[in-house]
Amino acid sequence: MDSLPILSLMTYSPLVGALIILFWVNAPANAVRWIALIAASVSLVFSLIMLAMFDRSDSGMQLVETFRWLPDVGIEYYLGVDGISVPLVILTTMLVVIAILASWDAIQHRVREYMIVMLLLATGMIGVFVSLNLFLFYIFWEVVLIPMALMIGIWGSANRIYAAVKFFLYTLAGSLLMLVAIVATYQSYFEQTGERTLSVLQLSQGDYGTNFQMWVFLAFFFAFAIKIPLWPFHTWLPDAHVEAPTAGSVLLAGVLLKMGGYGLMRFNLPMFPDAAEAFAPLIIVLSVIAIIYGALVALVQTDLKKLIAYSSVSHMGFVTLGIFAFNAQGMYGAMIVMISHGLVTGALFLLVGVVYHRAHTRAIEKFGGLATNMPIYASFFGLFMFASLGLPGLSGFVGEFLAILAAFREYQLAGIISMAVVVLSAWYMMWMFQRVVWQRAPGEPPDHDDPELKLTGDEAPPKVAGGSGDHHHEDVDPRTLSDVNAKEILTLLPLAILTIWIGVHPGPFMELMQPALEALLEPFGGSGF
């Protein structure tokens, strides 16, 4: 099986698609869409083959591909996957296919360029999760940055340039620090052993002084914390999400944020375990702040996408909370939160995209009563709302409960405070659901059997439902919106199935990660296994 470079095939099939589109100058828009879809699907198929070939009992790197590149300076082409990267890779390949489907009708302007950017982004994201050489990793990391900034800046909504620049500069600042840290680690390892390498596995064997660890840990951490994003490095996220096109938001929430959590697990923990333990209490505090702060700010949002963006800050807080508790439940929790958040938040952005595409607004007050004319839409919305607010039996609960348990074992108070999110998440999600999916369209009078009609005097509410009453004529009446079509169902259904599957029977997913997580925890005592 060594002969088939499955990881490379998976990583570059989107790139091949991008090149085809690039050189077929006069390609009709539909051909471009199909090429992109096929390229992404091929990548998805390869990732599933990877899963089939993956040995679940092995904790080491598998399906490894190495190629000597610049051996004198330790740069080599080095790919491999373990139980931590496999689920994230499949999440990525799947979400890319979904993102392309979601852009099918939504993007009508510069379709060629859009799909090229999308496919480049796909290659970059997959590459990040499979690279084991820091040089290669850094290249892929930066490859992700540029297409995403372009996607926001070109295909975004009104304030897109500000958001794109903010996103770019924020993450670039983190990247540069990481670059410095990579060079420093490389140099330190060279001084210790006389060997020049940028292989993560080898660098993790190094013995770095405590002081050195602290600084380099922080540099890496800063880059990843911005990506996650951990409070207080999160303010790029709401702007980026609000301005990005639907597919951009899906990939941003579904994949890009996970690169932060993945980076912490792949680099910070194995390379700088002492620093990780020293900084753990501080990071736990930031995580707990993120969890509560994100939920509170989500509560008062008036824009659907901003609400989900702030809820992301809250959910992703569980990733760092779990990782830095350094026990089995925390690692499982962090991984499952990452996967679950990718599925659920991705789906929520798709759902916002559905109504945005039809009504050209994301303001909560412009909607109401969607369940009446969009019953399938309402069912999906309800499902993902409950997954997001951590209803047991759906994926969100498994991850977040494990992360809270992990924190509670090490820092009781952190566990208790973060448990408060069960109230807040229900509050902000349901309040939104009530106003958007339930009740009635703005300005629509109560039905004839509504008990509201019987109320008199002070009890009686204004005779129109929902909203502030300033209903403009140019607004699209939510009553006229059509239900999700077959293509939209196709994008939502796989996410729904996985959300339920992970919630009801997370065993297979957890077994896949177990050896890698156990190995990851070894330097920290490996408690909880």
Binding site: K166, L169, Y170, P232, H234, T235, Y293, L296, V297, L299, V300, Q301, N327, A328, Q329, Y332, G333, G369, S379, L391, P392, G393, F397, V398, F401, L402, I404, L405, F408, R409, G415, I416, M419, A420, V422, V423, A426, W427, M430, F433, Q434, V437, W438, Q439, R440, P446, D447, D449, D450, P451, E452, P461, A465, G466, P506, G507, M510, E511, G528, F529
Partner: protein, 630 residues
Amino acid sequence: MSSWLFLIPLLPLAAAVINFILGRWFLQHASQWLATLAVAGSFILSIPVFLEIVSDEQAISQHLYTWIPAGDFDIPVTLFVDQLTATMLLVVTGVGLLVHIYSIGYMHGDPGVYRFFSYLPLFVFSMLMLVMANNFLVLFVFWEAVGLCSFLLIGFWYRRRSAASAAKKAFIVNRVGDFGFGIGILLIFVTYGTIEYAGVFDMVGDASQTTITVIALLLFTGAIGKSAQLPLFVWLPDAMEGPTPVSALIHAATMVTAGIFVLARAYPIVSQSADAMMAISIVGAATAFVAATIAVTQYDIKKVVAYSTVSQLGFMAFAIGTGAWVAAIFHLVTHAFFKGLLFLGAGSVIHGMHEEQDMRKMGGLKKYMPVTYWTFLIGAAANAGIIPLAGFWSKDEIILGAWLYDHTIIMVVAFITAFFTSLYMFRAVFMTFHGEERFDPDKVHPHESPKVMTLPLVVLAVFAATIGFIGFPPEDGWFHHFLDPVFPGMPHPDVAWSTIIIFASISTVIALSGLFIQYMAYVKKSISPAGIAGLLGPLYKLAANRWYLDEIYDVLIVRPLVAFSMFLWRFVDTQVIDGTVNGVATLVMFTSQQWRKAQTGLIANYVFAIALGAIIIIGAFMIFGSNLFQ
């Protein structure tokens, strides 16, 4: 027998899923038969399970699969049936079946009927799994799942703002309790290393007394939410926005008793902490009293029954707090029947009155709906504790328990509450069915409900009248011996017949005096309720306004939290954090702007600068680099 235990919850689940997916386009009204048959199947399967438990006195279980294998946190899904669960199985499937049958009539013609008959069996499934769990986490899963069903069914008529708000409120308020419940589960795991009942209960004593008390109180926090105790009961009256059969099944007979069930299930923990028991008894008694006072002042027939439910749940809670464990479960069972009956009866009245719920617009309905009247009367009398109906035996035993276990103050509160119970129950009966007709006979034509609705009423009425005898004689009935293995080590006080008769007499006098007062007030009109209300002044206002709990929450919690969130967003996020980020950008921009001024584009300036630079460099070299000045 245990090999097909899984069918009991699976049947309603299957019906729920099929109805949800196929209901709108294919099944429509056929969904009601599928759901009803599924629940009937569960009920029929529950009977042999119950009988096996009765005969063998051995708990049975069936392992299904491992849910979360996270290292040493390894959570199985295992069905577990002992005496307590077997009792709940019959109550849930039995009342569930009757409510399903009733709903066929009640929901007839509603365009969302398939949704209704998807959510309702989903609830039955969740409730069955809740009582059949063998560990605290799976219990919690279905504890939340019944909350989900409650949310969906309260908000069934989602186009109504009031229904949508009530559904949201119910879920969020329940989650406040779940916050504590969740931490309780964490603490159990951290303390005992497992969350399976059997393992935890074997090791209870290994933990410190403080830990045991904290765990018991945290579990009770969950019960405060789910079983609508003070201070979280505010969601339950609002939950009446849901269709009435939902109120009967979920918000009276089954789901709201889950909190009581959990406390009974955790008997080995809770009973070890005298402090926790004390707290439970105080909260329970206060809830019983407060809710009963509110019930007397309500005009909405469903609200009366709803506050009555809160009050009766308070009885169950303080029964547990005082140590009358069996009495609490006994009351749970009798209450399921008579309160389910009262709700379905209220639903029948509302149905017959064209969706009118205000008792001030009823009166004299006895002659229009005789079956509803007689069954409602039996339910009301059972609730008020009229001998020999079901509620009498269980409530009397709770009060007797308070006395037996030396909780005299609680006993007095209970007697006072029993008086209020009789007051609000017979007020509802007389206002609705007796006296003059206060509706507009041109617009409203009261009629008896169809057979499919009255049949469940009759069945429930038979049980509400007779089920009490499973607990006869008090403290020594069949039910007490049956539940004995669930509460090991519980004291069995010998109660003299004279004591029993004295308590029964006091209860009866209290119940009858309530009946008499309301008869005088609403039938004979010789007492003016308005006059009494005026006499009580602020006290009446307090009760009529539900002790201002909603207003207090709004002012103390909701508004400050929203304001704080606004502050976080508008100030901390936008000003402080983003301000810093943008500030850095502005600083860079500003500095660049200053440097930019050097680029004048005039050759002369550049030549001057070059010359100046050359002089400085050469000068510096001469000063520091050479020995010219040394």
